[in-house]
């Protein structure tokens, strides 16, 4: 499928959905950007509906199996990072705490 072909289905990801997922990942976007993304997302996801051609009824998801299992570590202390080193990269801090603009009823 090339992008110039018209959409074969009614499937669409509209601008409202784009704004919704943008907020889910805390990405500020503008109205016109939402429109542009809407066209791209629709084309991309619609192309991926290709997967529906595959019968996966009795197939186990790959993420539930692994070639390794039970990789754990003993309950021991390891050297920590110094607060000083940590704070070197922190944009806003008072030496002891990381500072973040106030939270209003987020959770």
């Amino acid at each position: 499928m090339t992008p110039q072909e018209p959409a074969k289905t009614d499937f669409t990801i509209d601008a409202d959905m784009v704004k919704h997922v943008a907020f889910l990942v805390r990405l500020g976007i503008l109205e016109e950007e939402a429109q542009a993304f809407s066209h791209q997302f629709t084309a991309i996801i619609d192309y991926f509906h290709l997967l529906n051609e595959v019968d996966t009824q009795n197939v186990k998801p790959a993420c539930e199996t692994s070639s390794t299992q039970n990789v754990m570590r003993p309950d021991e202390l390891r050297p920590s990072m110094s607060r000083q080193d940590f704070m070197k990269n922190v944009p806003h801090q008072d030496g002891a705490f990381v500072q973040v603009p106030l939270v209003f009823g987020e959770e």
Partner: protein, 487 residues
Amino acid sequence: MELYNLSIRAAHDLISKKQVSSLELTTATLEHIHNTDPHINAFVTVADELALEQARQADHRLQIGAKVTPLTGIPFAVKDCISTKAVRTTCSSKILENYIPQYNASVIDRLADAGAVLVGKHNMDEFGMGSSCENSAFFITHNPWDLDRVPGGSSGGSAAAVAASMGAFALGEDTGGSIRMPASFCNVTGLKTTYGRVSRYGLIALVSSFDSIGPMARDAYDCATVLQAIAGQDPHDATSLPAPVPDYLQNLEKPVKGLRLGIPKEYFQAGMEPGVEGSIRAAIRTFEELGMEIREVSLPHTKFGLPVYYLVLFAEASANLARFDGTRFGLSVTQGAKNVIDLYLQTRRAGFGPEVKRRIMLGAYVLSAGYYDAYYLKAQKVRTLLRQDFDAAFEQCDALVAPTCPTTAFKLGEKTDDPLTMYLSDIYVVATNPAGVPSLSLPCGFSNGMPVGMQLIGKHLSEDLLLQIGHAYQSATDWHLKRPAIV
């Protein structure tokens, strides 16, 4: 021959004979970088002081004969998604433009242990999202073979650097072709390792299920040397494999006569540039001449590789990039922020490029309540079928050969208009990562003056076999010895 043109093997030879010091080699390399890179822009950061200090330490080790390895004193650089202590690490993104890690990735520690000399960090597509290096937020890297063309991506800087002799080797990272594509476009040998063969601790994650760090160098022999130093289980990475690490160099010279090479028919259907196809077919004839048995196999679910790859990528990348929020490191846009939500929205808007934004939004979409089964879970199920395709194929043959890309390097700007078109160019490289299998990309010819690459795909933990076959091919051919004019 200029010092910076030496392979690892050749450089080690001179170093161990004390005919060249690491300081000399490193100085020559740094000088060459400063002369050549302004044309190519492979490097985001060049760490001269640190490199020279490491070179002096390497020379000291060499002098007292302590812990000398084939990599001692050898200059190298890494893709800028690998954490390097005290050296800026950016993922070619504005959001990490000034981030300086306070710890090393495990692979960096292992290379430091081996005595290798880190000279800098390579440009890439931002957060690994791209196939041309044009998605870097800083600047574009140029293909040393033709400065108007892309080097490939996302390890474009690493491939261009090795191609232009700016460092004896590089560490790249391959999530869906990101080592192999640029290796192929730049005439470099690159190895996508088995998932879990090399520790990911300290690698800034893109797709946790697929990311694989691997060496990029002049030839298979050099790749084997680097792999030897970095492979093996790491207690910091729960997905790293406990399987013992073989002696990769030991088997390199073994003859390949009688080994079975499979040609997956789905990879040879329409779409390849004639020059590319011609080079691949010629390479297959070479393998035949080396005594390998050629047979056709089928990987029936090949066309589903792309949706599987991208759906899992969107989902995992979306979660992996959530930590870039302006609070503990990196860009932090607080101006006008009334609360922390504003901080997140503003910082991520300013810090992420358009491709990154697209993918993390799509990730939230495919994981959303109501969509999870249809997209993410479905992709994971088809992923199992992709794995089974490879398992079945490897019962009939020891390795597979396939093109890395249907074309040679395209022109800068040629494919940036439409994201889906860009995704489609990954068609040959995206199926291996969901299956976790290793793949070695080797130079195998030229088409319209640009390098052509092929990949040798093997089953889990078969790096030694792939390197052996690659080394045999490179002993019988000289494509990998060609250098771009700029060098």
